[in-house]
Amino acid sequence: MSATLTVTDLVKSYGAVQAVRGLSFTVAPGEIFGLLGPNGAGKTTTIECLIGLRDADGGSITICGHDLRREGDAVRERIGVQLQATALPERITVREALQLFASFYAKRADPEALLARFSLTEKATARFETLSGGQKQRLAMALAMVNEPEVLFLDEPTAALDPQARRELHEAIRGVKAAGRSVLLTTHYIDEAELLCDRVAIVDHGRIIALDTPANLIAGTSASTRVAFTTAAPLPADAVRALEGVNGVSADGQATVLASAAPNRTIIALVHLIESSGGELVDLQIRKPSLEDVFIQLTGRALRD
């Protein structure tokens, strides 16, 4: 199946600063593709080049078979965009905004259906200035869907949203995928990328440093599962270090984090050790390697450094 979005050797500079340095990737129909990276990695510049807000200095962008540079109008008819912050006239109502944006396109979704789909029916007559952050993001998402786009671009769609609003937006994004449309999203939330994306490109300093499915990226890292536990009283350090599967220990008072190559056996051994020493397990958490570990392994820095 041919790609919905093909980006080849994308380059963009601001003066002497190279924000994007030769990015290449494709997004397949029905795929959710994530650009993951720290702030300043070049994600937003990339997406702004893809949607035509900025002119790339080099490279090519093909969306739904149309070259962005030569067939911008055809591309704009086929894409939906949710910017990091969507601004609308303050006094426009939700329904009017949907009607207005629908009128700009040849292919139009029913504004009333979008109101229902994004749980905005009750707010249909509310003015934009009165909406909460989550409602504004849902409206922005509805506006992005107003032309039933073949490709949806979402720039940090859940930034600054509360957990409930984030969950709602995740559901909406999954719904877009279920309808067979492609999604390209940028995020610096690890869990968002792991939960939503079929493939993830990890971006740093304007370059893709890894690109694969989240599972494959994580499987490729040498990072161990972490077993974090807290006991009522400290355990003997030597005994903890000798637990089966353990290949690293860090302790801070009663709280200890074990790196384990065999977490099942490590936990069983840990419980035995606590019982045999007459101790009490207060807290136990297991954290598998994540895309954060992949990023740390590739760059030596955390995503939020």
Partner: protein, 277 residues
């Protein structure tokens, strides 16, 4: 409905929801009418010349302040950035914005005229179609100038500063606020280089028995001023908040202002082209 028409309709609705816009769009023009009616309204009521001034002032205000303030406010908040992502072209957005402003100033003008008839014994226009044509051309010229202000200004404060630099000279020495013949002789030729002089004359001629085509040069001047300003405003149009003006901007602005100078020079050299009012 086409995006252009929907944007036009929404622009008008939003204007009606904005109390400040309503005050500046309708209440302030009534104050202009009362002020000029009180000062220049003789025993027989308001003259065509004075009513031309009233209509020109309120149109100038709506074009040079009302429209750019709305446009700059929306652009700097990122509203136009979002519009840019849609397939509707720049020209359609500019056109719908200009027509919306025209309809706003036209409705204020109708209100002013009706009040002038009731309060200052102003007769019906002698040439209603001429008045409609003149008013359209005056609006075109002034709204075109307002478009340039909107593209150049980076904040609402800058709109007010730029607007005043055009508004005040036209009011004081351009024949719009003070009749030209009340100005010192050495100042009167300066008004030939300002669009307001031609606007007042075209409007006044349409209200008086003379008719707008008594002074076709005024109509032509308004067309040229409006066309040049609209082209320049379109060329310099900015979608993004904080977006830099094109490097060629000074040349484009010079082109727009240059048409005023050329029109003034031609009028200066041909007494037949000098507006009577």
């Amino acid at each position: 409905m086409h995006g252009f028409l929907t944007h036009l309709r929404i622009s008008l609705i939003l204007n009606c929801r904005n109390l400040q816009a309503l005050i500046f769009g309708y209440v302030v023009p009534i104050f202009f009418l009362i002020a000029l009616g009180s000062v220049f309204g003789g025993p027989n009521g308001l003259t065509a010349a004075s009513m031309g001034q009233v209509l020109a002032i309120s149109t100038l205000g709506g074009a040079c302040f009302g429209m750019p303030i709305t446009m700059v406010g929306e652009r700097e908040r990122g509203v136009w950035r979002r519009y840019r992502l849609t397939p509707l072209g720049t020209g359609w957005f500019i056109l719908s914005t200009m027509i919306a402003r025209f309809l706003i100033v036209a409705s204020a003008a109708v209100l002013q005229y009706a009040l002038a008839m009731a309060a200052y014994h102003l007769p019906l226009p002698a040439h209603p179609l001429d008045l409609m044509l003149s008013f359209t051309l005056v609006s075109f010229a002034f709204i075109g100038i307002g478009l340039i202000i909107a593209t150049v200004a980076t904040s609402i404060g800058a709109v007010q500063a730029l607007g005043q630099t055009l508004f005040l000279p036209m009011i004081i020495i351009g024949g719009v606020g003070i009749p030209v013949w009340n100005l010192p002789a050495w100042v009167q030729p300066i008004s030939l280089y300002l669009p307001g002089r031609y606007a007042v004359n075209a409007l006044a001629n349409s209200i008086a028995p003379a008719g707008a085509f008594k002074a076709p040069y005024c109509l032509a001047a308004l067309v040229v001023i409006g066309a040049a300003a609209t082209v320049v405003g379109w060329k310099l149009f900015r979608w993004e908040p904080g977006q830099r003006l094109a490097r060629s901007a000074p040349l484009w602005i010079l082109l727009a202002v240059g048409t005023w100078i050329v029109i003034g020079v031609i009028a200066h050299a041909n007494p037949a082209f000098v507006p009577a009012r």
